[in-house]
């Protein structure tokens, strides 16, 4: 069971209102957000518009504004808001006992069985 979740460290390592990144070798970079309401989200660090680094945007509520052309992306759904269209993949995340966990299969794209063996 534990093997399904990847422990990426304590909640305090991400300052509220900011995001930090987690590059996956051979995969996409993941942006992990800590909102001002103390919620955590993980999405792929690529704006659906022109691949802007969403981790560098201004976070307000559960939305991040892309630093390049100000698209608003919902951290909850990964969807572009307003008139813009597009979607960025989200990665299931949970917080337990002050630590952040990402769903392993969503991070590395592999199946959990291989990992558990």
């Amino acid at each position: 069971m534990i093997g399904n979740w990847l422990d990426i460290g304590p909640v305090t390592q991400i300052e509220p209102g900011t995001a930090r990144t987690l590059p996956v070798v051979g995969g996409e970079e993941i942006a992990v957000f800590h909102t001002m309401r103390n919620e955590f989200f993980a999405i792929v660090n690529k704006c659906p518009h022109k691949q802007g680094p969403l981790s560098q945007g201004i976070v307000h509520g559960d939305v991040v504004t892309c630093p390049l052309h100000n698209w608003n992306i919902s951290l909850r759904s990964g969807k572009a808001l307003g008139d813009d269209e597009g979607c960025v993949p989200t990665i299931p995340l949970k917080v337990d006992a002050g630590r952040i966990y990402l769903l392993r299969s969503a991070v590395i794209g592999g199946d959990d069985q291989a990992e558990a063996a």
Binding site: L6, G9, P16, R20
Partner: protein, 833 residues
């Protein structure tokens, strides 16, 4: 029920009744038993185990007990007689240690074994202890049960300092109690806003100010690093930034975790809480669970209201009349006497959400209702919570509020007042001597006669009779009076700062100084912002205005800055950054050039370019490499070039009299001096300077914000030029004879611009708006140059610390570093970056 009765005990014979064993003598466990008794009193033989050595009491009232407002006896829910009268066996002070599902029995710490037919787990939550050094010291307590309160009271008896870690509901109630008991209390909260789950920034700020007024010290955005002990007892709390706060008691109130240990060990399905269905049945049909320890439809609760519904559904189920529990919507109140605060639902905003905000600075009231698709989605109330339950009710029922939308924020009494729901009608109904503007004591009659006298816009009213000119809370009333008096002829006034306020940039700047407003949430409250926390256009503006008004005092709000100003570099379209080191007056030397060349090679920068501002721009630097790049540049003596900010950019110079055959003065030397004086200053917009050594003007000084053109007899000072899309040549401000005068005038002009212009207004549009003469007059007044120049130099003391050096030394390092790197190989391990 026609079971044979055991006449000695007045109830059915034991073996016929089912045996119900409850683990947890707390609020949910006992309530569940009460609910079952109310439906079918003869159904079970009940045994309740409680780890606490006492009867069941109202846990939420521990706060008033701590504060000395209640005694323990007053908060007992079920007395010993209740257990006796209902034939319940209470095993108190004995913790259940294991559940043996195979043999259907539980084993307690005392060794007592109790068989069950049905088991109810109601173990509540455990306080979460942050894993810092010193957490086990004597004097570190949590806030969960009466024993904790006793420990706090014992400490309070000795007086001294208390530190509460956690600025949520529990922490603040603990802090309040300890404060009333005479301790010096400091609250340490990790997040920037107190109770951030329940409050937005505006309400959190009001709460913080009130608690500070009561003598508590509130540290937000503070991270506990260590609890420092002395002789095995707590002595202080040390924060990550090194601050040490003395403490004779430390209360940890950072959150709770469902107490699931027993269930987990017994092999029941557990995620965050014990998994239950709508009837509170766990993965074992004989085992039920209720209260804070459960997880229902993905939710774990930390408040009592959901427990009541859970207990109802549980009792319906075990008495074979299943109804089901569907989850709860919760609301929060803070139990601190004298503070009215209410919060419910979702207020994180988002797609399609609309905020309705009302503020009354004089009464300290802030109300915000969040509406989406004509339904109330959430509410945050501070200072006046009378309508909390009404909003909560509208929210829970999902009622359509489109009919009362206009009056919603004024509360139930107003919204249901029929005709009064039209604000104009309400204003029309006011008598002539009714006060409209409390700040300036202006009556309705005065406002109307002022409108009839020719003031046909909000702004005209403000300047004529002063109504609505101070805090703005009566703006709506004045607008109604304008509409009523003039019909459709209201003139729209000058552009307001943004949609969040009825004030212009100029008004806001003036009021910040007049009313001595020192924080963003304070401005928003005092000037009645119509949004909870502003928007992307007013926040950076207010941040700048405060920086300018209170140099050295105001703490820059990083959240109100755009990415470039947060990262101290320019973001490029591929997400990398460009780095421009400062080269004073465009001068450089081999050491600097070598450092730049080394950086380019070391970090594989794909391009270096000479900019139009006479600097070298290194392109393609990754955010995680920025601190290292800056460290290398710092080592060669270079600081940030601020090519990314609303700040002084560059001072461009020509070679001047030192080399050039036309040169009249040392333009390079003057340029370097000016740059040394002005670098690092934040401005309404970017600001460029140039110094040319003669009127041939090679440095293009006449398209700069401030340009110096040297002549034989001195220095011509030009202002408000601009290149870019709309080219504007400078206006001549004045001519001076000495370098010192040129420097002073430069400082004075910049400061006047900093204090007078609107945020994002370059000098060119500013001078066109206010007029050249206005600027000349301001600076020509007796002593004006000295006055403004001195203010500029004062504020520069605080601005001229190199942001790069601080970053290179580790400040905000988290902004730059990756969390870690994931290598998806079999047996892969996390690598710390």
């Amino acid at each position: 029920m026609n079971a044979p009765m055991n006449f000695e005990e007045g109830r059915p014979a034991g073996h016929v009744r089912e045996r119900l064993v409850v683990i947890g003598n707390g609020m949910a466990g006992c309530r569940a038993v009460e609910e079952i008794l109310a439906r079918d009193p003869g159904r079970f033989d009940v045994t309740i185990f409680g780890a606490e050595p006492r009867v069941n009491y109202n846990r939420i009232m521990l706060s008033p007990v701590l504060a000395g407002e209640k005694t323990f006896d007053e908060i007992v829910i079920n007395t010993q007689e209740w257990y006796d009268d209902n034939g319940i066996t209470l095993v108190s002070g004995d913790k259940v240690e294991s559940i043996d599902r195979e043999h259907k029995r539980v084993v307690a710490a005392s060794g007592r074994i109790e068989p069950y037919d049905k088991l109810l787990i109601a173990t509540g939550s455990d306080p979460f202890i942050i894993p810092v050094p010193g957490k086990d010291l004597d004097g570190v307590v949590t806030f969960r049960d009466l024993d904790d309160v006793d420990k706090m009271l014992a400490a309070a008896g000795q007086g001294g300092n208390a530190v509460v870690i956690g600025g949520g509901l529990l922490g603040l109630e603990a802090a309040h109690g300890l404060n009333l008991r005479g301790m010096d209390v400091t609250v340490i909260h990790l997040m920037p806003t107190l109770m951030e789950r329940q409050l937005d920034e505006a309400a959190g700020w009001l709460l913080k100010t009130e608690l500070e007024r009561r003598g508590q010290t509130i540290l937000t955005g503070a991270n506990t690093k260590e609890i420092v002990g002395k002789d095995g007892k707590v002595a202080a709390v040390r924060l990550e930034d090194g601050t040490e706060i003395p403490a004779s008691i430390v209360v940890m109130a950072v959150g709770i975790r469902p107490a699931t240990g027993l269930a987990r060990e017994a092999g029941l399905d557990v995620e965050r809480g014990i998994m239950v269905d709508d009837h509170m049945v766990t993965s074992d049909p004989s085992v039920l669970a209720v209260g804070e320890c459960v997880q229902h439809r993905g939710m774990c609760y930390g408040l009592v209201a959901p427990l009541w519904d859970m207990c109802r559904a549980l009792a319906d189920h075990v008495t074979e009349n299943p109804t089901g529990y569907e989850g709860s919507v919760t609301s929060t109140k803070l139990k601190v006497s004298g503070i009215d605060l209410f919060s419910a639902g979702d207020f994180s905003g988002g797609e399609g959400c609309e905020d309705i905000v009302m503020r009354d600075a004089s009464r300290g009231v802030y109300k915000r209702v969040i509406v989406k698709e004509n339904k109330v989605l959430g509410a945050v109330l501070y200072g006046d919570t009378a309508d909390g339950s009404w909003y909560f009710d509208l929210m829970k029922k999902g009622e359509d509020v489109s009919d009362i939308r206009e009056a919603l924020i004024f509360g139930q009494a107003f919204a249901s007042g029929g005709a009064l729901a039209d604000p104009n009608a309400a204003v029309a109904a006011l008598s002539d001597d009714a006060e409209i503007c409390g700040c300036n004591g202006v009556s309705k009659g005065q406002v109307v006669s002022c409108i009839n006298g020719g003031a046909h816009s909000l702004d005209a009213v403000r300047s004529t009779c002063k109504a609505s000119a101070s805090c703005g809370s009566c703006t709506g009333l004045v607008e109604s009076l304008l509409a009523l008096t003039l019909g459709g002829e209201v003139e729209s006034g000058p552009k307001t700062m943004c949609k969040c306020t009825s004030f212009t940039h100029g008004d806001v700047r003036k009021l910040i100084v007049e009313k001595e407003l020192r924080e963003i949430p304070q401005i928003m409250q005092e000037l009645h912002w119509t949004t909870p926390d502003g928007c992307a256009s007013c926040r950076p503006a207010l941040n700048y205005y405060l920086l300018c008004a209170w140099p050295g005092e105001y703490e820059d709000d990083q959240k109100s800055r755009f990415v470039n100003e947060r990262m101290h570099a320019n973001i490029q379209k591929d997400g990398t950054y460009s780095v421009v080191p400062r080269m004073w007056g465009g001068l450089t030397n081999p050491k600097e050039l070598r450092a730049i060349a080394d950086v380019v090679e070391k970090f594989n920068a794909p391009m270096v370019k000479v900019t139009g501002g006479q600097r070298l721009d290194i392109f393609g630097i990754k955010k995680e490499d920025l601190p290292a790049v800056w460290a290398d540049l710092n080592a060669a003596g270079m600081v940030s070039g601020h090519a990314y900010g609303k700040s002084l950019r560059t001072v461009k110079t020509c070679v001047g009299s030192e080399w050039c055959r036309f040169g009249t003065q040392d333009s390079t030397g003057l340029g370097v001096q000016i740059e040394r004086m002005t670098w690092g200053s934040w401005m309404p917009h970017k600001f460029k300077i140039a110094v040319s050594g003669c009127p041939r003007n090679c440095a293009e000084a006449t398209i700069k914000d401030f340009g110096v053109v040297c002549v034989d007899s001195g220095y011509e000072l030009h202002i408000a030029g601009n290149g870019g899309i709309k080219v504007r040549a400078t206006d001549l401000l004045c001519k001076v004879e000495t370098e010192q005068e040129a420097m002073d005038m430069c400082a004075a002009f910049i400061q006047f611009y900093r204090e007078d212009a609107w945020y994002l207004e370059r000098t060119a549009p500013w001078v066109e708006r206010v007029g050249l003469q206005y600027v000349k007059d301001a600076l020509a007044a007796e002593g004006a140059v000295e006055h403004y120049a001195a203010r500029f130099r004062y504020s520069q003391q605080f601005m001229q610390d190199d942001p790069w050096a601080k970053r290179a030394a580790g400040e905000h390092e988290k902004l730059h570093q990756h969390l870690a790197e994931v290598r998806p190989f079999p047996g892969a391990k996390m690598e710390n970056a």
